[in-house]
């Protein structure tokens, strides 16, 4: 990593009238890497890539591309292109003219422009749509034109600001795969913005989790998901429960929360070998016939808990509990319903290896 740094941000700070938006961010990106800036709305993602593109000037810090300081270069002098959040296609040009705009600026001959534009249209699967008006395109098509318009310039770095935000879920999935395919095929460095953690995990080589103008953690999707460093990262990326106990803070993802009493088959796999024999029997027991068995966890923690609420979301049943000290814990499992009812008392717990100690940043 260290020896093929392609783009790096060094101590970037930026303030607007509303306050300090970037509070000194550092980031090293390798050639051909797909890196995602992930964070809640307003955390400074767009500002970061606008500074890389040269559309905003940092108050402090440097932007280095291939060893050259490009901080003071205007946007047209940087070999960096952007896919804007609203696509920003030129309404007075047709699709082909939009795509070949960068070539026209560089005075490439008409024949070559046309050939390249055709090639790009094929790449983004819009063959034969070159003479369409921009206003005649669907959201997904506009998005692909914007990608083609940027890629035709063969940028060193492509910046993508929530390019799939406006698309419906199905098209989004499809475009995620296509973007990833194009990125691999072309070997261009992608800096990708999203606030959808699933998208970030699916697509990225590395994820930089951003929070209030700082990177909380930069790492592979695995690292971010399984070994979050801070409570914010654990909560934002893994939807983990944040448990505070004996002056320490732990993150426990909801699928690792095991219900030990009154609800037999819950989280059998998640519980794994740490659960006593009786769980094996419990597996075959139909949900309606609730055995009065009790599970115990060998190496982990157990708590008395009150059932607060059950809800079904995102293909999962979520059960929220309240511990004796008032902390709330969410357990999730596949399935539509549970025999537990609100107000009931039960016991829950998790294995020690599933409780990741994190730095507490108050979330």
């Amino acid at each position: 990593m260290a020896d093929n740094i392609h783009l790096s941000l060094k101590g970037i700070r930026k303030s607007f009238k509303s306050g300090e938006v970037l509070k000194g961010i550092d980031l090293d990106i390798a050639q051909g890497e797909f890196i995602t800036l992930l964070g809640a709305s307003g955390c400074g993602k767009t500002t970061t890539i606008r500074i890389i593109a040269g559309l905003d000037m940092p108050d402090e810090g440097r932007v280095i591309l291939d060893g050259a300081d490009i901080t003071d270069l205007p946007p047209e002098k940087r070999n960096v292109n952007t896919i804007f959040q609203n696509y920003a296609l030129f309404p007075h040009m047709n699709v082909a003219d939009n795509i070949s705009y960068g070539l026209k600026i560089r005075k490439v001959s008409k024949a070559e422009r046309r050939a390249k534009a055709e090639e790009m249209l094929r790449l983004v699967r819009l063959e034969g749509r070159g003479d369409r008006k921009v206003s005649e395109l669907s959201g997904g098509q506009k998005q692909r034109v914007a990608i083609a318009r940027a890629l035709i310039n063969e940028p060193k770095v492509l910046l993508l600001d929530e390019p799939l935000g406006a698309l419906d879920l199905k098209l989004r999935r499809q475009m995620q795969l296509e973007l990833k395919r194009m990125q691999k095929q072309l070997g261009i460095t992608f800096i990708y913005i999203t606030h959808d953690q699933e998208e970030a995990i699916n697509m990225s080589d590395r994820i930089a989790v951003m929070h209030k103008g700082l990177f909380e953690q930069i790492g592979t999707p695995d690292e971010i998901y399984y070994r979050p460093k801070t409570s914010y990262v654990a909560n934002f990326v893994g939807n983990a429960n944040i448990i505070r106990e004996n002056g320490k803070t732990y993150a426990v993802r909801s699928e690792n929360v095991v219900i030990l009493e009154k609800e037999a088959a819950v989280h059998f796999e998640g519980a794994g070998p740490g659960i006593t024999e009786s769980a094996q029997e419990a597996e075959s027991v139909p949900e309606t016939a609730v055995p009065a068995q009790k599970l115990t966890i060998k190496d982990g923690s157990e708590y008395d808990a009150k059932v607060l609420e059950k809800s079904f979301a995102g293909g999962q049943l979520r059960i929220e509990f309240e511990l004796k000290d008032g902390q709330h814990v969410v357990a999730s499992r596949s399935g539509l319903n549970s025999v537990l009812t609100a107000g009931q008392m039960t016991r829950i717990g998790w294995r020690a290896e599933h409780a990741v100690e994190v730095i507490d940043d108050g979330i």
Binding site: P74, E76, T82, F84, F90, P91, Y101, G102, I105, N153
Partner: protein, 311 residues
């Protein structure tokens, strides 16, 4: 008060009965006829005050002149023939030239003004708009008279310049051609500014950023993106300044003395001193045809886009 009350009740009643009626078609029909009724006064107004006078003017232009006032019911092409006399042809030419010059200046000052005004933040936009509107609170005639006080021989400007020893004799600016051009520009500039402003305001600024991002410099971005996208505004600004500057006779009157004669002045003179109604009508018809041709040309260029600021 009574009237508006009554109308409100009527429409409310109308929609009620339509709602309880059977079926969509009936509702639509009812709606369309009520729209038509509402439009009636507008049509009537247009017919009485626009269409009829126009037709009447056309008719007049083919009539003969009466001794004292009015016209004699005798068909003639003489009025139009007379326009072909060098005196009048030259006046048309001069008027077009003046309109052309003042429009060009208006473009070069008004476009940047309107464009940058659209880029200001909301507060400053409001302030600039107000500054632009304040002059309209006073009649144009009074404002032009104000300029006379400034520009006349030994007027405010001369006194100032001579007081500062920048000049040692009056400049004699008043009653010159540049003064009339100045007056036209002064009178019509706000229309150019507002027309450009209205289309620059609507333009998506990220398009400019996108162009820069794709490698175009600031100047190239202006010509490839900003100018094409604000062209409708610029063109309606041209229409709004070019056409009136051929007809604003009082500007030439007040600031040009009787040395500079525009087509508007001739029409006015023929109506008043000359008492030649049919000839004034013929001149007006020609002027109107000229301006209509310009608008047609504009529509050609602007395509199907709306005449921004005009409508």
């Amino acid at each position: 008060m009574m009237g508006s009350d009554g109308r409100n009740r009527n429409t409310a009643g109308g929609s009620l009965s339509a709602g309880s009626g059977s079926g969509r078609a009936k509702k639509n029909k009812r709606k369309r006829s009520s729209v038509w009724i509402l439009m009636m006064p507008l049509y009537a107004f247009t017919i009485v005050f626009v269409l009829f006078p126009l037709l009447y003017m056309g008719f007049l232009s083919f009539m003969s002149r009466a001794e004292v006032w009015g016209f004699v019911n005798e068909f003639t092409l003489g009025n139009y023939k007379r326009i072909l006399e060098p005196l009048y042809l030259n006046t048309f030419k001069d008027s077009l030239k003046l309109a052309f010059i003042s429009t060009i200046v208006n473009i070069f000052i008004g476009y940047p003004y309107g464009y940058f005004m659209a880029r200001l933040d909301e507060k400053w936009k409001r302030i600039m708009m107000l500054l632009l509107m304040i002059p309209f609170w006073t009649s144009g005639l009074i404002r032009l008279n104000g300029w006379i006080i400034v520009f006349r021989s030994n007027g405010i400007l001369d006194k100032l310049l001579m007081g500062l020893h920048l000049t040692d004799a009056p400049l004699k600016l008043l009653y010159t051609y540049p003064m009339v051009v100045f007056g036209m520009i002064y009178a019509l500039m706000p229309f150019m500014i507002l027309a450009v402003y209205s289309s620059a305001e609507k333009m998506d600024w990220t398009l400019v950023e996108a162009s820069r991002d794709l490698g175009a410099g600031a100047a190239e971005t202006f010509f490839r993106v900003t100018l094409p996208l604000t062209m409708p505004g610029l063109l309606s600004g041209v229409i709004l300044t070019f056409i009136p500057s051929m007809g604003l006779f009082f500007v030439a009157d007040l600031l040009g003395g009787n040395k500079i004669v525009l087509i508007g002045n001739i029409i006015q003179q023929q109506l008043t001193k000359g008492r030649n109604l049919p000839f004034a009508a013929a001149l007006s018809v020609v002027l109107m045809v000229l301006t209509s041709l310009l608008i047609a040309l504009y529509r050609r260029i602007a395509g199907t886009r709306q005449l921004e600021g005009l409508i």
